[in-house]
């Protein structure tokens, strides 16, 4: 069963999501990856205001390829999330409601998710051309000098992902592989 979520995501919708659920997201999401996270984190450490309001938002860990003529965006699959683990708890504590990426997270991120009632979605790594079909519009919000790593706002329709870690800390990367492990 696939759950359809309209963004911005509500606390009630987050509580309703269980690890393993298939989800289609519609609305707007932010993007950001390594270099942008480093800058945002440094501003938080200095007690300064962020150039983008992250409250209530989802952030997609992505660095898209350029868009060909006639395309709203270029191929845009998820990048490995663990590289943002150092920065994610600070963003979650400031009101970020969730993250979209791929792969495992560390305990500090999971603790921050549980503490703040947040969700972590996995998109399919390496399915960038397919995923881009669900991204209808992009707008650069800040850090344009970072090129592919700039922070963007994506308008998405039925963006496909899976609840990898829910707000109670249930984690598909822990629960699913062991079911098929025979070594």
């Amino acid at each position: 069963m696939t759950k359809k979520i309209t963004l911005p995501i509500t606390d009630e919708a987050i509580r309703d999501l269980k690890a393993g659920d298939s989800v289609l997201l519609t609305g707007t999401i932010l993007t950001g990856r390594d270099a942008a996270h480093k800058r945002l984190f440094e501003l938080i450490e200095q007690g300064k205001e962020l150039p983008v309001d992250i409250k209530g938002e989802l952030i997609y860990y992505v660095g898209p390829a350029p868009a060909k003529e006639g395309y709203a965006v270029g191929p845009a699959g998820p990048t490995s999330s663990y590289r943002m683990d150092k920065y994610a708890p600070a963003l979650l504590d400031l009101g970020l409601k969730g993250m979209i990426g791929k792969g495992a997270r560390n305990q500090a991120v999971i603790d921050a998710m549980v503490r703040n009632g947040c969700v972590y979605f996995a998109a399919i790594g390496g399915a960038a051309a397919l995923i881009a079909k669900s991204i209808k519009k992009e707008e650069i919000l800040c850090y344009e000098d970072l090129g592919t790593e700039a922070v963007r706002r994506y308008t998405v329709e039925d963006f496909p992902c899976i609840v990898a870690i829910d707000c109670e800390g249930n984690n598909v990367y822990e629960t699913e592989p062991v079911k098929y492990r025979t070594i």
Binding site: G20, A35, V62, G63, P64, A65, P66, A67, K68, Y71, G74, P75, A76, G77, T79, S80, Y82, K102, G103, A104, A122, I124, G125, G126, A127, A128, A129, L130, I131, A132, K133, L146, G147, T148, E149, P160, I162, A164, V172, Y173, E176, P177, V178, K179, Y180, R181, T182, I183
Partner: protein
């Protein structure tokens, strides 16, 4: 001695085409393995992920867009014939091919100039990583690939010593793949380099990821090790996208080299299912 002359423009055009092709068109060996895995995958989520990957790769080919947004760092294995003369700067001709492919082919520019301090994007995906070998003949053979770093980051090298033997080699490879878990975009291709020196093992591991996965090491003992490792990896349960299942790897390729009496270096270069490489001869 008679030399055949190749123009710098020919080199540039060939390199450009290789990088565009490998980023748009997944290899037949990978597509066959994905299709076979789809039929054998036990996990319903895993089957769904494989369906999406197959559909993704078909969209990329049909629309000539990159199949993955991480179009990689440009890596080239070049066999340069000793009877060829290039009228110009050979390495610059290769770099120009990379530059043009990443610019005109809508590929992502993913290279930063300095690894630790500046980390400023070079904006044209250069410099490339060139492995050039002089061989006999009047041809230049180029194998090019875009290496994504989600999987590159999960790679490892260890200077094993002779007493580790076959078991020690297999254990290190399996430990590396297990530690990578869901991160390198499984199902993965595992490139292994055994022997040589520290850097030769790493280079062989990369070369192994560029070898078609429907081939084997010419020595039957290593070929058997490839099959055995593939089976063991697929029993780890990570599955497609790491969401559980029995397709964690599509292939294991081993390349070997003579080594020192005291050593047995092993390098494991992990590649995602978007194992992109293409070859041409000039």
């Amino acid at each position: 001695m008679k030399f055949r002359t190749v123009t710098a423009q020919e080199i540039t055009a060939a390199v450009k085409q290789l990088f565009m092709d490998c980023n748009y068109y997944i290899g037949g060996d990978i597509m066959d393995a994905l299709t076979k895995a789809r039929d054998q995958e036990a996990s319903p989520v895993g089957r769904n992920v494989l369906d999406q990957i197959i559909e993704n790769d078909k969209i990329a080919a049909a629309e000539q867009i990159p199949l993955c947004q991480d179009t990689g760092m440009a890596v080239l294995f070049i066999e340069y014939g000793d009877k060829v003369s290039v009228d110009g700067d050979f390495e610059e001709a290769v770099e120009e091919g990379v530059r043009q492919a990443y610019r005109d082919g809508y590929l992502r520019k993913s290279v930063v100039d300095d690894p630790v301090f500046d980390r400023v994007n070079t904006k044209d995906n250069t410099p490339a990583i060139l492995h050039t070998k002089i061989v006999k003949g009047d041809k230049i053979r180029i194998t090019a690939g875009g290496k994504g770093f989600g999987s590159e980051n999960m790679s490892a090298i260890k200077m094993l010593t002779p007493s580790y033997g076959e078991e020690g080699v297999k254990q290190f490879i399996l430990d590396t793949v297990f530690a990578a878990g869901p991160n390198p975009c499984p199902p993965i291709v595992v490139g292994v380099g055994i022997g040589g020196t520290f850097e030769r093992a790493a280079q062989l591991a990369k070369k192994a990821t560029f070898r078609p996965i429907d081939t084997h090491h010419p020595d039957a003992r290593y070929a058997a090790m490839e099959d055995e490792l593939l089976e063991s990896i697929n029993r780890m349960g990570f599955g497609p996208a790491g969401l559980g299942g029995n397709t964690t790897a599509l292939g294991v390729n081993i390349e070997t080299s003579p080594t020192h009496i005291a050593g047995m270096p092993v390098a494991v270069n992990i590649c995602c299912h978007a194992a992109r490489h293409a070859s041409t001869e000039i």
